[in-house]
């Protein structure tokens, strides 16, 4: 069965001009991501993983090439439209600094829904559902500082899922976690992927994470080196 394409990256180049010598971080990358994928982007440090995820997530703009998310070519969006687009369509999980430290886990998950002006009843129901899905139903009222690193990342996944995004982008979500927390987080993400067909795209160095992926895209020197499906 051919699934719907949710991300189409076509011949994308990204050159950073912020340094004296321009850095060619991506040099002609083309990838299609389909609904329901559980995909790892791997490669050595400096290969361009973060750059690619930032471009797909609309946090930055490519130097050349096009990126279509859903049906939208994000190059056509203004900065402010891009912020709204991210709010509606893309869930982010970063390596760290994912949560607002002064708010509780529940409030963090609720936050984007509040920005979307969703009614309270709907927010409450969705928050409870997500906190249960990430296995933290009993930690609703804890602040991030009262949660372990793994628990914080799970709240971040719940937060990313809250507005029902088209897909979730996670840049090295397990880099700061121990093996047990890493396994737990991946179990949870895999379960959400299997049960609810949520699309995950994440970058990683970690072999244990790579082992769980169903598609592995390897980049090196800003180019796609390998693109393999795992059964």
């Amino acid at each position: 069965m051919e699934r719907k394409k949710v991300i189409i990256v076509k011949d994308v180049y990204k050159t950073y001009h912020e340094t004296k010598v321009p850095v060619k971080a991506l040099r002609g990358v083309s990838i299609d991501i389909h609904q329901g994928e559980f995909t790892a982007i791997v490669g050595p440090s400096g290969s361009g993983k973060t750059t690619l995820l930032n471009l797909i997530g609309g946090l930055d703009r490519p130097t050349k090439g096009s990126i279509v998310v859903g049906d939208t070519d994000i190059a056509t969006l203004s900065d402010n439209q891009l912020i709204d687009f991210r709010k509606e369509h893309i869930g982010f999980v970063f390596q760290s600094y994912n949560l607002i430290p002064v708010l509780t886990a529940k409030e963090n998950v609720e936050f984007v829904m509040l920005l979307q002006k969703q009614p309270k009843a709907k927010r409450d129901a969705r928050t409870a559902e997500l906190m249960a899905a990430v296995g933290l139903a009993d930690r609703m009222d804890n602040r991030p500082s009262e949660l372990s690193g793994g628990q914080q990342q799970r709240v971040a996944v719940a937060r990313a899922l809250a507005p029902k995004p088209t897909f979730i982008l996670a840049d090295e979500p397990t880099a700061n976690l121990d093996s047990k927390s890493t396994a737990d987080l991946l179990d949870m993400m895999a379960k959400l992927n299997a049960d609810e067909h949520i699309t995950f795209v994440f970058s990683t160095h970690d072999q244990r994470v790579i082992d769980r992926a169903r598609r592995i895209i390897t980049i090196e020197d800003g180019k796609v080196l390998k693109d393999e499906w795992v059964q």
Binding site: T50, N54, G57, L59, D60, D79, N80, I83, D84, R86, K87, E88, F92, F94, S96, Y97, N98, I100, P101, V102, L103, E107, E110, F111, V112, L114, L115, Q116, R159, A160, P163
Partner: protein
Amino acid sequence: MIAKIAWLNIWRSRTRSLVVISSIIIGIWSLVFLLAFMNGQVNNYISSIIENETSHIQIHTPQFKEDFEVDQLIPNADQLVAELGKSADIHAATGRILLNGMLSSSAAARGVMVKGIDLRLEQPVSHLQEKIISGQPIGSGRKNEIMLSQRMAEKLKVKLRSKVVLTFQNISSDITTAAFRVVGIYKTTSKRNDELYAFADIADLQRLAEMPQGSAHQIALLVNDFDATDTLAAEISNQHQLLKVETYKEISPDLELFNSQIKLNMIIMTTIFMLALIFGIINTMLMAVLERMKELGMLMAVGMNKLRVFFMVVLETLLIALIGAPIGMLLGYLTTQYLNETGIDLSTWSEALEEFGMANIIRPFVTADTFFIISIAVVITAVLASIYPAFKAIRLKPVQALRKI
């Protein structure tokens, strides 16, 4: 939710926030006190002029004010005084005879204006009795008693019970002399007035100057409601068209000028205080924004738009100011109230103050509009102070903010 985040953010760097809040408290506290002190000083000055010189309203014949002619008398002034004194709007009324003349002792002679007064009516208007430093007030029933200021007594080298001779023109412009006995020595807060005025009984002056009984040059009034002075003066003027009715503002226009000068000073001082506060607030907020770069980057990444980020920083600043300002105003108010009751004794500098006709005890006070102006100034200050840090915050690019470890 943004308001809640803003509020909670303030307490993340507790010490830093408390430092800036304290500086706001202290700044506003001292501002309130300073303004209250100025108010007290002005009030002192104005009430001393009203008490010693202008009253609230004065009535003369239209010509009197121009040349101080002895014959410019208000006929049946005593009846008018009695009538006005009965009015519910008028606190006190008294009639006076004013005679320019020469006062001489065996040692010296001085120009003088003798005010002929009815002590019983005069007391509530000018509180003369409280200013006597030795002897008694006039009006014991004996004839030709006079009260001199301490300065005048020194210049004439006379003491209590001494005799002085007053030379003046009577109503028919004949030069007349009369001997008076000094029964009281007084002292007001105005050196200038003390060098000029002496007080005698109105009946004595009427008799000596051959004026009709019950006549007066001047009727002085104190009103009950200070703010209604103008309307009341206009009313009296309407009823007595032949007389000239003037308010303290007309008699002493500099008082009004003084008042508007004070308002200007208040605005200037508030501005200076706010300028002093603004840099501290900018600095604090800038630190707060810069140390939260990653978090702000994350917020923008997940969909918080620039307007909301901007608003959050402005709100955070505003909240800091709004914690500090009311406490500062309350402390300022309490200090003012306390010092209003006890009074601030400035007698150390009294020499200089007397030149300006000011009393030694300053009672600071504040009015509601002072707090109103300060509140508005604080809000403006906070918003201005937040603009630069808020711009810093929204100029962040999420990618860059998140990249920096």
